[in-house]
Symmetry: C2
């Protein structure tokens, strides 16, 4: 997997996109102080390299009625991961799932409309022939809301771009 390095202009564009919902290319070029064609070229590159995978919409599940959130770990039968993946995909309450190191094999982020709904998910998981054991913790509150830009900012802050507004200490 080749990954690309983002520079300060990439970051400015991503930030502008995030902070100005549904802004078009011309508006982004105004905010970032580069030519419109430059924004187009940069977006094209961010999309074609897979850094930008889409444009939301970003959804708050709680506002949409899904008030319960939990993390569930699964110990699975030896070699059962290939079997389990489509099972998890077929459960709408599984928001995301990862194979991990540690005593459990899979960690899932789950959302549900109620505790009963969550319990149904757990029951379904326990019923799977691939799953040996589950543990779960319920989310009580959000300490840090989901974000990725601070991490990208950190790595991009040293990388100038050629556009005048993005050269070393020029602005």
């Amino acid at each position: 997997m080749i990954s690309m390095s983002l520079d300060r202009l990439d970051l400015a564009i991503l930030t502008a996109l995030h902070e100005h919902p549904r802004a078009g290319v011309l508006e982004i070029s105004r905010i970032t102080q580069v030519a419109r064609a430059t924004v187009q070229a940069r977006l094209q590159r961010l999309e074609s390299t897979g850094v930008v995978t889409g444009y939301g919409p970003d959804i708050d599940l709680e506002a949409a009625g899904q008030h319960v959130s939990a993390f569930v770990t699964l110990e699975i039968a030896q070699g059962a991961l290939d079997q389990l993946a489509p099972e998890l995909e077929a459960m709408p309450t599984i928001l995301e799932a990862y194979a991990t190191t540690g005593s459990a094999d899979v960690l899932c982020k789950v959302a549900a409309s109620s505790h009963a709904d969550l319990q149904e998910t757990l029951i379904a998981l326990n019923r799977s022939p691939s799953v040996v054991r589950t543990t779960s913790v319920v989310v009580l509150g959000t300490v840090v809301a989901p974000r990725v830009l601070p991490l990208l900012e950190r790595s991009a802050e040293q990388r100038d771009a050629r556009a005048p507004a993005y050269r070393t200490r020029s602005t």
Copy 2:
């Protein structure tokens, strides 16, 4: 917290937005077979009720060079959550964090550019006066990629809208 119920037209709009990146309102109205002003009104409502919180961009951190991902649990000192939150916010590698039930108090999703970078995060966490103990698991792979629409589809599928294309079994 009042939450709104989504109906089939809400879902069609959200889905169209997701599947047609940067599509404008007119295009969404074509895809969903309702009037443009209806899409505008629906989006306005989805945004003002907090269901839609933004429009990305959706970023693949791995493509952007952050190749390591982990989940970290924290046991914290009694009553130290208020103190910890700004500390976590200040660490760019903390993508999201939740207070949870269970033996640990906080669960964090972490990304980093390398295992050394991840270790630095863990060291910083252990150095915090609020943190008594940390455990971590490293993500080996993605089993289910992040998604929310299947869950919303499930709850919206019974709810017709008044637009002709969205009445009971009319289409």
